[in-house]
């Protein structure tokens, strides 16, 4: 399929991009890496009148540090997934981002797809929104009136919907450095042939004297937006860092984790839903979060350093097991 015709702008600066976006009106779409937008345009689920291509806005690429050890990483919105995966600053200060990004789609898509594009697309099945939420990232949005900063908790408004206004661009994301006793892990459950998460959990835990001082847990594809498992976080805080606390924090807190606000629709509406997308949240069984939260946090308790395992790695792991072990409904899926 070929996309419907559109006007094309290829700015080289943020200011030019904002002008092009304003000139394009409400039917304008921003093209970052294009790995979600171009497929939906091809299927004619989106038919923007104007496409503003940010590929040449070089100021939006790259990762830099702000402040000292208590500072932040600033990730440019147009930094590709490949660059994120190999970035030394991210590896040092926010390895959870690299670990989750490594599981996004495949090599070809990671070469084009961007960090900011994935966040602005706000697909609840995407891996990066829950990671940004778990890390308490801040989103810097540029608009005609200047820049504003939106915390992750307010950025994701609804299914494929963010706090970005029609005339705004996501320019960078500020992620607090988590050093010292923080351990992080991303646990993802997906079909073998598809890298989209069925569900996934992003967890970061700070340990002090054998206790969990603080836990931050983001949930992928368990609602119309990424969610924080706040009840599990509270249950873990102060607990002895061991399997018992983790086991307690999963199932016992299920209701609390999923009983989160269902926000009112506002802000920028999506052009279209992703083809083949699952119905947003609410209709899922409450069971998956328990399994994911338990596994991700258990992983941290036993191995404080992050462990990497890509999508095909998980698939391969499963293929090594005997057939009967693969067919336990609700247990073997990862």
């Amino acid at each position: 399929m070929i996309p419907a015709a559109f006007d094309y702008a290829r700015p080289t600066t943020v200011d030019e991009a904002l002008q092009a976006l304003a000139a394009g009106g409400e039917d304008a779409k921003v093209l970052a890496g294009g790995q979600s937008l171009i497929p939906v345009m091809r299927l004619r689920l989106a038919a923007p009148s104007m496409v503003v291509d940010l590929t040449r806005v070089t100021e939006l690429r790259g990762v830099r540090e702000e402040g000292g050890d208590d500072g932040a990483l600033v990730i440019g919105a147009m930094t590709t997934h490949s660059d994120v995966v190999s970035d030394p600053l991210i590896a040092q200060h926010a390895p959870l981002i690299a670990q989750a990004t490594e599981t996004v789609a495949d090599r070809q898509v990671r070469h084009r797809g961007t960090f900011g594009g994935a966040l602005a697309h706000a697909d609840p099945a995407g891996d990066l929104p829950a990671v940004a939420l778990a890390l308490d990232a801040e989103f810097v949005l540029a608009g005609p009136g200047g820049r504003r900063t939106v915390p992750a908790r307010e950025f994701f408004v609804d299914y494929l919907t963010t706090a970005l206004a029609e005339d705004e661009l996501l320019v960078e994301v500020r992620v607090p450095k988590l050093a010292g006793q923080w351990g992080m892990h991303y646990e993802k459950f997906n079909r073998v042939a598809q890298a989209w998460s069925i569900v996934a959990v992003a967890a970061a835990v700070r340990r002090e004297d054998g206790h969990i001082a603080e836990a931050r847990i983001g949930l992928t594809n368990m609602g119309p937006t990424p969610l924080r498992a706040t009840a599990s976080e509270q249950a873990l805080a102060g607990a002895v860092a061991g399997a018992d606390a983790v086991a307690e924090a999963g199932p016992a807190r299920r209701r609390g984790n999923l009983a989160q606000r269902r926000p009112q629709r506002q802000g920028r509406l999506p052009c279209a839903s992703r083809p083949g997308a699952h119905p947003p949240g609410g209709q899922r069984s409450g069971r998956s979060p328990d399994v994911g939260v338990s596994r991700a946090t258990r992983e941290l308790v036993h191995r404080p350093g992050s462990r990497r395992r890509g999508v095909a790695g998980a698939a391969r792991h499963r293929a090594d097991r005997p057939l009967h072990a693969r067919r336990r409904p609700g247990l073997g899926h990862r």
Binding site: M1, A5, Y8, G34, D53, D106, Q108, V311, A312, R316
Partner: protein, 158 residues
């Protein structure tokens, strides 16, 4: 229409394209580079994989205008000194194909993988080509071919 200048398989082209033209359609229909195929039309199968400025991309998910000023390499441009590229040769020798439809994309993705990881394990090959689907399920020989191709590429560099 927008004018673009690209180098494809070592030759320079300047053409008028509609912004909505996908890179794969430009390659096939305007340049006649039909070695690059369209498989799934949903960005899943990787059959249309080419190298854009040295990186493997799915050419059905890149606009031709985005390749303006860039270097594109297709399956038709990888033969060396009139002979097959080591990765092509390995796919041929180890029969890393059944119907052959996924092969151009498999080979382009594999060369990209080996560029980053000159000696991939079987597991790393499977992970590295996860963006390419073989509907014949001929993965066993494909994986063997990629490993042999990698070995030959290492040898060729020494």
């Amino acid at each position: 229409m927008t004018q673009i200048s690209v180098r494809v398989d070592g030759a320079s082209y300047t053409d008028e394209v509609e912004p909505r033209t996908l890179l794969v359609h430009y390659l096939r229909e305007q340049l006649g580079k039909v070695g690059t195929v369209v498989g799934c039309d949903t960005s899943n199968c990787g059959a249309c994989t080419v190298h854009l400025d040295g990186e493997a991309v799915k050419s059905c998910t890149v606009l031709a205008v985005q390749a303006d000023g860039s270097e594109v390499t297709t399956i038709e441009g990888i033969a060396q000194n009139g002979g097959l590229h080591p990765m092509q040769k390995a796919f041929h020798e180890l029969h890393g194909l059944q119907c052959g439809y996924c092969t151009p994309g498999m080979i382009m993705a594999s060369i990209d993988l080996v560029g980053d990881n000159p000696d991939p394990s079987e597991h790393e090959v499977r992970e590295g080509i996860e963006g390419n689907l073989c509907r014949c399920t001929g993965y066993q020989n494909i994986v063997r071919a990629v490993q042999q191709g990698a070995a030959e590429m290492r040898g060729a560099q020494q």
